[in-house]
């Protein structure tokens, strides 16, 4: 088994094109999906049985069905309803819908976790409504929001690979093209794997930076005896 670097020297432009399309699709789906998710999260707080039941069905359906099936349903369902979009648009719509369900759950959890009376207390100690939101309410919601959102965004980037099956020329699709042209699966998938891995690491780093900057990072060090740590900690060195 040898690794033919020449293949990558020849095909890197289309792999890079695929990566760039993956990034663009994911950015769009992040913005649209997050907006939709927050809307659904707010709807779930409306005290109406019908609204809550609808939200529950929306979440259950989108979360219990594989993304590849959601994608195909949108792909074949839109023409059914008389609407025709290019595959890229269809794929982005499906990815946004998929992500919105998870962002909705995350948003709802973060809002519900906020202790009651935070806003009122801040007002009582003399803060303006804006100050109360900015210094008390918003940071707390953000603290609950950021870590799971980062996770979900990474999941979304990975799921976007499935768009290759409706001929969207994103990164995974291009890897299959390279593979088909060269009969060199090892080189093709190795390159693509590294690109996805790099994207994932970049997103995680960016999120960590954001958390550090906004001060929402929460470090918890659990103190343990060396003995307990040898069982309950998986880090290389026992804590203390």
């Amino acid at each position: 088994m040898r690794f033919d670097i020449g293949i990558l020297a020849q095909y890197w432009p289309i792999l890079l094109q695929g990566a760039w399309l993956t990034v663009r699709i994911c950015l769009t789906a992040f913005v649209v999906g997050y907006a939709l998710g927050i809307l659904v999260a707010l709807l779930s707080l409306v005290p109406s049985r019908i609204v809550q039941a609808l939200v529950a069905v929306y979440l259950a359906v989108l979360r219990a069905i594989p993304f590849i099936i959601i994608l195909f349903l949108v792909y074949y369902g839109l023409p059914f309803a008389g609407v025709r979009f290019p595959a890229v648009v269809t794929g982005t719509v499906a990815l946004s819908l998929f992500a919105s369900a998870y962002y909705a759950e995350i948003g709802r959890a973060a809002i519900v976790a906020l202790p009651r009376g935070q806003f009122e207390s801040a007002r009582v100690v003399g803060m303006s409504p804006l100050q109360a939101m900015r210094h008390i309410v918003f940071p707390q919601i953000l603290r609950g929001l950021v870590p799971p959102s980062v996770n979900m965004t990474l999941t979304m980037v990975k799921e976007s690979s499935v768009l290759s099956s409706i001929t969207v020329a994103e990164l995974t699709y291009q890897s299959l093209v390279v593979q088909g042209n060269t009969f060199a699966p090892f080189e093709a998938f190795a390159a693509v794997t590294l690109i996805y891995w790099a994207i994932a690491i970049l997103v995680a780093r960016a999120a960590a930076l954001f958390e550090a900057r906004t001060g929402v990072a929460e470090r918890q060090d659990v103190e343990r005896s060396a003995l307990a740590a040898s069982f309950l900690s998986l880090d290389r060195r026992p804590a203390r």
Partner: protein, 219 residues
């Protein structure tokens, strides 16, 4: 065009039969992933520098790359190393490895929540390392991570749909075959979606039942 309920009804029996393939593969993956995840967790707790380093890289790799690509690697790349796997075997291997890694990460979080006093007390009673794992740590750990584990099972069930891409004849592939013969892709896909909805709602209900049982057993 309008939605034809009759079409949906006529394809449902074939789809339900194909769903048994997904169910069977998912069951195998769940068993392998839980065993593998537990094994990796115990291995990590031994704190062998090189081993933990390797597991760390593997975790980063599995978490950072799409499941679909991992499936392709097992299906297309493994033969280049002399491992010619049947589509089902390659798919189950990829899903199991992926899920085992996510389960060790779930277990890491679970371990944080077990009171250190439990281990210290067990050690004071002179229990062996093995006994501490099997009788004290693991049973509590599984109880704590049960909800997240149930969620992971639904992810595995959904993951089996991706195996259609490497020619495993599951619900989705069956749906595509029927659709290309009947020219009614939408109804057929709705049927496939209903199969997954039914399986995963059942998994979630079973998880809730199990949680309640465990809560009762502790009380």
């Amino acid at each position: 065009m309008s939605f034809q309920v009759a079409t949906l009804m006529s394809v449902l029996p074939a789809l339900i039969e194909a769903a048994l393939v997904n169910l069977r593969l998912a069951a195998i993956v769940v068993v392998l992933a839980v065993l593998g995840g537990t094994g990796l967790t115990v291995l990590r707790a031994m704190k062998i520098g090189v081993v933990n380093g390797l597991i760390g890289v593997m975790i980063s790799f599995i978490r950072g790359t799409p499941l679909l690509i991992q499936i392709f690697i097992f299906y297309y790349v493994a033969p280049a190393f002399g491992l010619d796997l049947r589509p089902e075997v390659a798919g189950v291997a990829a899903l199991s490895l992926n899920s085992a890694i996510f389960i060790t990460e779930i277990m890491r979080a679970g371990l944080q929540s077990i009171p250190p006093g439990q281990v210290e007390a067990a050690s004071a009673l002179a229990l062996s390392r093995r006994a501490i794992w099997l009788a004290v740590v693991l049973p509590q750990l599984f109880r704590r991570i049960l909800p997240v584990l149930v969620n992971e099972v639904t992810i595995i069930v959904k993951g089996t749909a991706l195996l259609s891409v490497i020619t495993v004849v599951d619900v989705l592939r069956t749906a595509q075959q029927i659709a290309s013969a009947s020219y009614r892709p939408f109804e057929t896909l709705v049927g496939a979606a209903l199969c997954f909805l039914a399986i995963n709602l059942a998994v979630m209900a079973a998880g809730r039942l199990l949680e309640r049982r465990m809560a009762d057993a502790r009380a």
